[in-house]
């Protein structure tokens, strides 16, 4: 029925794709798992790039070049996304009065689906055929560039690669960047890099997997990976407890785990734990029957201030801390 590798149907299922992947333009369209393939017609699952960023930027035409439309297209060149306004012009067709009455404003909100139907007839994609872009002119850094984290261990790099200016009303929150970075030399009091992340055996999930007994058995205890040379300076032994202090004034108590995977200037902690807070076991506060198999300090208690300039996602990888033997 379906080819095991490509997922395309044959025989009775000819013209279909296994699982009806997005986008499925019309009730007869088979859907398409392809991101870009102009060697196939749109009806068969071929696709160009979506017209997503306007028609023109800085004098550059953003529609696809001549002859780069998917196979069997009525329009061989680039074309904008199809709306009720431009449909007759772009597709080169005439709509009846009834169709004009029923058609939606653009292909996204067209509940009559006339736009998609007409596009399929012409072998064209309703979302247009345009260029992809590598430069994001809506971002503060149109091309990605290095900026030191707010809490940087290298003051010389802070001067060379400063962070952004403070951003007012960033998703309704006044968010500090430069003012926080320049508040003081954070690396003086907090000399060690703090990196948190997920463990490969936890399959990308965060705290949730602590409720799976087999996953909890793999890593039953919160730990901090520390280079033996660094640990030695603070008198921390393998398996002994240690305090980690953050510039936010918070601290957590975790078990030291000697590891050569981390260099001497940093520590690593997994974020898969919760239930303890600043050395205190609060796991009795879980509602009855919801306590996970494994509890421990949450690494996020000590991750430093800092948010993404676009999405407001908190900074969990670039922070500083101070450690001591507990």
């Amino acid at each position: 029925m379906f080819d095991q590798i490509s997922g395309r149907g044959y025989g009775e299922m000819k013209g279909e794709y296994y699982g009806l992947p997005w986008p499925v333009w019309t009730e007869t369209h088979g859907g398409s798992p392809l991101l870009y393939n102009i060697n196939r017609s749109v009806a068969e699952g071929g696709m160009g790039f979506r017209n997503r960023f306007g028609l023109e930027h800085d004098g550059q035409d953003l529609l696809a070049g001549a002859g780069s439309a998917p196979k069997d297209s009525a329009n061989k060149d680039g074309y904008p996304e199809i709306t009720a306004k431009n449909i007759e012009e772009v597709l080169g067709i005439k709509l009846t009065a009834d169709e004009k009455k029923r058609i939606g404003k653009n292909w996204k909100v067209d509940t009559s689906n006339i736009i998609a139907e007409k596009c399929m007839q012409q072998g064209m994609a309703p979302y247009g055929n345009a260029k992809a872009r590598a430069k994001v002119w809506t971002f503060p850094d149109q091309i990605p560039m290095h900026r030191e984290p707010i809490h940087s261990p290298r003051q010389d790099l802070v001067k060379q690669y400063p962070t952004y200016e403070d951003k007012r009303d960033h998703y309704r929150v006044d968010t500090q960047y430069a003012s926080k970075q320049n508040e003081q030399d954070w690396s003086k009091d907090f000399p060690i890099n703090l990196v948190t992340g997920r463990l490969v055996n936890m399959n990308g999930a965060g705290m949730e997997n602590r409720a799976s007994k087999y996953l909890a058995a793999l890593t039953p205890e919160m730990f901090c990976s520390i280079n033996p040379d660094l640990a030695g300076k603070y008198g921390i032994r393998d398996g002994s407890m240690m305090w980690i202090h953050s510039p936010e004034g918070t601290k957590i108590k975790v078990k030291a785990k000697y590891s050569f995977s981390v260099p001497e200037d940093r520590i690593f902690m997994p974020f898969h734990f919760a239930g303890h807070f600043q050395g205190e076991d609060l796991s009795h506060k879980y509602p009855k029957g919801t306590k996970p198999y494994a509890v421990g300090e949450s690494a996020n208690t000590v991750t430093n201030y800092g948010y993404d300039i676009i999405t407001q996602i908190p900074e969990t990888k670039g922070g500083l801390c101070r450690i001591e033997f507990a």
């Binding site: 590798i5 490969v200 996953l215």
Partner: protein
């Protein structure tokens, strides 16, 4: 599979990323009690550049299985396809198989109070045990019998990097040989299925 095939596990240490997916899949599939890990991933020389590698270890289904030689109850039997299995109803939990095993594979669940050890449990290569194939009793005592259903053992089936291989030892060594020979210059052929999925075939 040839007629005198012997089924073996092989873990390619250049591919294993120590995700522990095999051991969790195993525990989940056979609903093993806590403390029993039929399969385990170990990491050698952790953090030492160039020397670190990981391996997934379980019963290796030895051809000359020492466990079978030392068992005082003779509860082991080696199937024609090389899978080493044992009879839990005969086993007395003396742990002699553990002493003889080079891999430490036999496991002994705590059975009741005072840490008394129960009967042995180990990897069955998803081939169940001496009970009636696919019976409820076999499922309870030995876990799934995927071999009888024509399926690959669950650990190797889910290995995302295809580090853990299982099958006829001759075929496994062919696959490994091809991998070794293509180190440094890439595989000669396109990735499996590329032309079918993205080309114009079908």
């Amino acid at each position: 599979m040839s007629e005198n095939a012997r089924l073996k596990f092989y873990c390619d240490e250049h591919r294993c990323i120590s995700c522990d997916g095999c051991s969790v899949a195993c525990a989940e599939a056979h609903e093993l009690p806590a403390g029993i890990n039929r399969r385990k991933v170990i990491t050698m020389n952790e953090g030492i550049l160039g020397l670190e590698y990981s391996l997934s270890i379980a019963c290796m289904h030895c051809t000359d299985a020492p466990c079978e030689q030392v068992c005082p109850t003779d509860c082991f039997y080696i199937r024609e396809d090389g899978i080493v299995l044992h009879d839990k109803e005969k086993c007395i939990g003396c742990a002699y198989c553990l002493y003889a095993c080079p891999f430490g594979a036999p496991q002994f669940p705590s059975d009741g109070a005072f840490g008394i050890k129960g009967v042995m449990d180990k990897c069955t290569m998803c081939a169940g045990g001496p009970e009636e194939t696919n019976s409820h009793k076999e499922r309870e005592m030995y876990g799934q019998n995927r071999i009888s259903e024509g399926k690959v053992p669950v650990c190797a089936a889910m290995c995302s990097t295809k580090a853990l291989l299982v099958g006829d030892s001759a075929e496994i060594s062919d696959i490994y040989r091809e991998r070794v020979l293509s180190v440094g210059h890439g595989v000669k052929t396109q990735p499996y299925g590329w032309s079918t999925a993205y080309g114009s075939k079908i």
